[in-house]
Chain length 454, copies 2
């Protein structure tokens, strides 16, 4: 394990070596590191340095490194490899990672490489599944045993194949048709009588998912039941692969990133498999512009509302002083509710059928918060020496807007989910725009009732 | 594994059984489930139903269930248990979970229970560590072996102690002073020659953390190196515990929740160990009011700015139509940048020393986005038949505000981190308020230059 400073120093030593044409030494320095640290150091090198050192790595080191890099760094790096070396490297990689890489290559290149691979059969079955499903996450490196196999035989088999590090801590028991019937932990293998059969020590209550299960649900099942690996079956209940815990932490990071970006009005598609630094400026602009534009047009609603109240604004200019404050408070109250509800839904604490209870909670919270703020607003208004009627208008408006914002923000994410939309997209940025326009209407309506001049 | 509908039906059957005074049957129904599902069903019962069924559970079932419940549900549930039963239950629980529970009990009750426990020695060493550190997360259920132990002896030892499910997949090798010197995977135990010693099969390059390491870093190390368990050492490098993968997924969920709530202007403290439904309305209001109030006062800045431009507003009322739109766009552009930068920091892609590069990227992105939006704004203004000078003012303002918002939002989270503040608290809600007021100043300054009437 190395900390950031050490890694930076190693990167610097590699760069110096490369400048002095000591490519061999640079390569050795890199290969001495843990694969995760290799990737870190490799990312600190510039394109030219990467191209110099990458082809000098051993097949195993290349495979390890590729497994750690982000998708589009991988594509860039493999351009420096021959088809033959790439095939060897893919043979060394975990089948799920190899399949991901092949899926990202241009089709003809992918089939050329596949044709050269020795272990193509491990990878081919994985190519057909969408990335974001259990099928896309799973590996074919799992161990299936028949019921009547003894523990002794199983251990002997493991000794012969010398399983790689990635092979899970569980052996799966399958019947004649490859249907999943049980699971045996490596622990039971160690501690049970060697003469016993797999059937007698297996747990028949295996938790599993099917290939089409969405990755978010896969992550939920694995966290819920604290699993380090989860078998995947097809429609005939045949074992076809296993999802391992390292894939799941990636999924959890991606899902959290997606939520945060969507709530911040950034389109996440295409950004999740890139680090901050790999997103070029045009991708950044593309991922944001469409949202800014949509919100801009939604925002013109507030202009239209204001235009309709032109006369009132002309009569009492002081009305306009409070517009940003009122809109800001509504937006903030809405954002608070959205953050709470969205997170509750992501953690599966809030479900669609809870919509009424959520609304009722947020309605009361909004009312309470609004009442407290409206007192503050009235005191502040008087302190600013605006008319009492205007101060009262602002105070009442704040209470109404806060309550309204809370209830809209409580209901919209749940409704969006109910009709199959992504709740974070529908909620975060859009809600505050809707609240802005409605808030203005509420403000002017109340003003017309209360202010004698209007 | 059971889906939500099945669980709901089981909860309903338990409720019916309880109504008919068939407590025994309700208890059996609950105990047949997987512990994670037990917790789910238990949470669907009301307080009275919970109090009826909870004391009837076996010691093991009670321990399993308590391990799955959230902190304050646990406290509520254990009120129904005698000191004796609670001590038995804690003996069954994983030491880290038992220590958490004891830490939450009133001190005198905790020491009474500890005095009655058989395995108090497993738990006591854990009581001193703060919850959010490696020491607070770790368990004392790990297996340490001496270098010269043979694999045969190790397996024999494992058979004797029949390790519980929670015991990790690794054996740690320690020297005479209990210092951590190596690690042996259960896998090597299975596949190596039984006569070999631990020293000859161990990996001496053990990745570890110290007891005081923050949980966020613990999670980062475990995800980075794909570990299912991570040893924790004290200052003399002595092995004192192990953090397991299930604790890490909890940490990751908590960190993501914290980020989302802070960006949504909700104080997360006190909410992370409660589910959405357990947060009573006064906690909700408390966690939000202070932020709404702070933002309200910050928002009065915009009012002060507008008040200063009272004459201009009186002369050209149309100026006010664009205020919400301009402020909204600035706020949205800032929110996009904050979301991107904050997430980059959470994933350790963006570091403090990168501040200048981040600023430069976001400056260019803001300029580009602003230029595009300003064209849209001018066309829209003409379409709305406002004066050309006003439309141009709005267009230029939008470009300036967007660029300004992007750069402020890029720099603030990083500066906050540099001086030791939580970047999500400092950034999300506060930035948009600052941008609002600065945006208005920019707008009126530009208007005074461009509009002939002013």
């Amino acid at each position: 394990m190395a900390d950031q400073n050490e890694l930076e120093q190693i990167a610097y030593r590699i760069q110096t070596a490369l400048q002095n044409n000591q490519v061999e030494e640079a390569s050795t320095l890199l290969q001495e590191l843990h694969p995760a640290d290799q990737a870190d150091v490799f990312q600190r090198l510039n394109d030219r340095e990467q191209s110099l050192v990458f082809p000098t790595l051993s097949v195993i080191a290349t495979a390890d490194l590729l497994e750690e890099l982000e998708d589009d760094e991988v594509l860039e790096a493999v351009e420096d490899l021959s088809i033959e070396k790439l095939a060897d490297v893919l043979d060394e990689m975990e089948p799920d990672e190899a399949a991901d890489l092949l899926g990202d290559l241009p089709p003809e290149q992918a089939s050329e490489v596949l044709a050269q691979m020795e272990d193509a059969e491990e990878v081919k079955p994985l190519l057909g599944y969408p990335d974001e499903t259990a099928g896309g996450l799973m590996t074919t490196w799992y161990i299936g045993m028949r019921r009547q196999t003894t523990i002794e035989q199983a251990i002997e088999f493991l000794r012969q194949i010398e399983p790689e590090t990635e092979v899970p801590y569980y052996l799966y028991v399958i019947d004649r048709e490859k249907r999943l019937v049980g699971v045996v932990g490596l622990r039971s293998l160690v501690v049970s009588d060697p003469k016993k059969t797999m059937e007698s020590v297996m747990d028949p209550e295996v938790i599993y998912v099917t290939a089409g299960t969405d990755q978010e649900e896969v992550a939920e099942v694995m966290t819920r039941y604290d699993l380090t690996s989860l078998p995947v079956v097809d429609h005939q209940h045949r074992l076809i692969g296993v999802v391992t815990h390292d894939d799941i932490t990636d999924v959890m990071e991606d899902e959290a990133t997606e939520d945060i970006l969507h709530l911040g009005a950034v389109e996440s598609a295409g950004l999740l498999d890139k680090s901050y630094w790999e997103q070029n400026i045009f991708n950044v602009v593309r991922s944001r512009f469409i949202w800014l534009l949509a919100l801009f047009f939604a925002g013109t609603l507030t202009g239209i509302v204001l235009k309709n109240y032109e006369d009132e604004l002309q009569t009492v200019v002081a009305l306009s002083f409070f517009i940003p404050l009122l809109m800001g408070t509504g937006g903030n109250a809405g954002a608070q509710t959205v953050a709470t509800v969205i997170r509750g839904m992501a953690l599966r604490e809030v479900r669609v059928r809870d919509i009424f209870q959520v609304w009722w909670r947020e309605f009361r919270a909004g009312l309470l918060l609004g009442a407290m703020l409206s007192i503050v607003a009235i005191v502040l208004g008087l302190f600013w020496q605006v008319d009492l009627p205007l101060a009262i208008t602002v105070g009442i408006t704040i209470a109404v807007i806060t309550t309204f914002a809370n209830t809209v923000a409580a209901v919209v994410p749940i409704l969006a989910t109910a009709i199959g939309l992504d709740p974070t997209i529908a909620s975060g940025p859009m809600i505050s725009t809707v609240i802005d326009a409605s808030g203005l209407l509420i403000y002017f309506t109340l003003a017309a009732w209360i202010l004698p001049q209007l």
